[in-house]
Amino acid sequence: MGELIKNGIRVDGRKPDELRRIKIEAGVLYRADGSCYLEWGGNKILAAVYGPREALPRHIQDPTKALVNARYNMASFSVQERKRPGPDRRSTEISKVTSEALEAVIFTELFPRTTIDINIEVLDAEAGTRCAGITAAAVALADAGIPMRDIPVACAAGKVDGVVVLDLTREEDQGGEADLPIAIAPRSEEILLLQMDGHLTYKEFEEAIELAIKGAKQVSKLQKEALMRKYKKVE
């Protein structure tokens, strides 16, 4: 404790309300209907969208709307200790909350009996992969032309050495007091995903969630710039 922030500066040189370096590229895959490559600090994420396409087997079809099926997966080499391939409990939970957060903005009722499949591959991981994954997936959805009422975006805040900070690094996540990842619809500021673990007073919680929303809105700009670059390239 007391080692992660010195004179208001964090271990990687950032200020408390500063994001890590983020790089977003839309439309990077040949086969997928929409895709995105995203680097966020040390995270490297690839997201691909397929659909809407017929949901199979048929008994899973919903006659009133499209199913939104996000799958978060970590490559075995993306973490220091090799991860066994296949889903574990953590990735199952992240896939579920990611699916729900993204479904919240998609006009699913336009595509009954179909599925929209969103694949998030974490190729290199350094804390904050779920936010990076949702952010990349949202760009891939837009790139695939899936009608949405807003382009979701995610960001985390947390508490480190008693200070509420934006966008935790691995050391801060491990040595800090709380982590609070959110996803929002940036125009309405509706909260699509909200998880938190650690210890926050009510005041700190308010401060953290407001900081995370602020951070998410910055990331939202980068998403839109990436999509603009893609459209320009295509023209």
């Binding site: 939970e93 909350v97 210890h199």
Partner: protein, 259 residues
Amino acid sequence: MDMFGKISAVKKDYLLGLAKEGKRVDGRGFDEYREITIERNVIKNAEGSAKVKIGNTMVMAGIKLEIGEPYPDSPEEGTMTTSVELPPLASPEFEPGPPTPDAIEIARVIDRGIRESEYIHLDKLVVEPGEKVWIVFIDIHVLDYDGNLFDAGSLAASAALQNAIIPNERHELGDNAPLPVGKPPISCTFVKFGDSIVVDPNLDEEQVAEARFTVALDENGDIRATQKGLAGSFTLDEIKNNINRARIHAKNIRKLLEE
């Protein structure tokens, strides 16, 4: 992925209509829990156990302790693991098989509440430092499902841990001793449908819910874990409001645990 099967649009309209008049399908107020009962020490073979009912929802938690290895990064701490079983006994929608995403989400949210509030004193569960520690298995078995498994499961786990013992005798390590625990987290869950947000949803309400929010609070009312679920959204004000409502509920529920 969907716990509830097909949802009747009629039911949704009915509940939304009621909610506009400030009413709920079972007559409760928006900020009213169903009756909660806790029965402890119900399973002889478990190191600790509790049966919790919230209305018609019934959940059993059993605690087992085994000796195992610590995690390499915390050699001087015991470990804990939380699982939720949704057996076909408890609902016509539950099927046998490995844990569904629903069961995993509930287990992980309950686990975070217990872990982050440091309810179990894991540092006191070392048998041989770096070599042997106690593993605390928290197994939550749903017996009758009428909504709000997050709170029922969390409460059952807390109550079962409260009276659990360390089975030293079975391992020839001296006398049995109480499991060292602090103050339990209290979980409080809301669902939103239309413009209404109600606490302690029953099954009907879960089936029409657009968004769900769970918060685990410690004895000071501080926040130890939160989870938003389902394919809807909350505004920031709604989230803040939920937490303030939860702080009142948590005080009342905490009293039940301390009886």
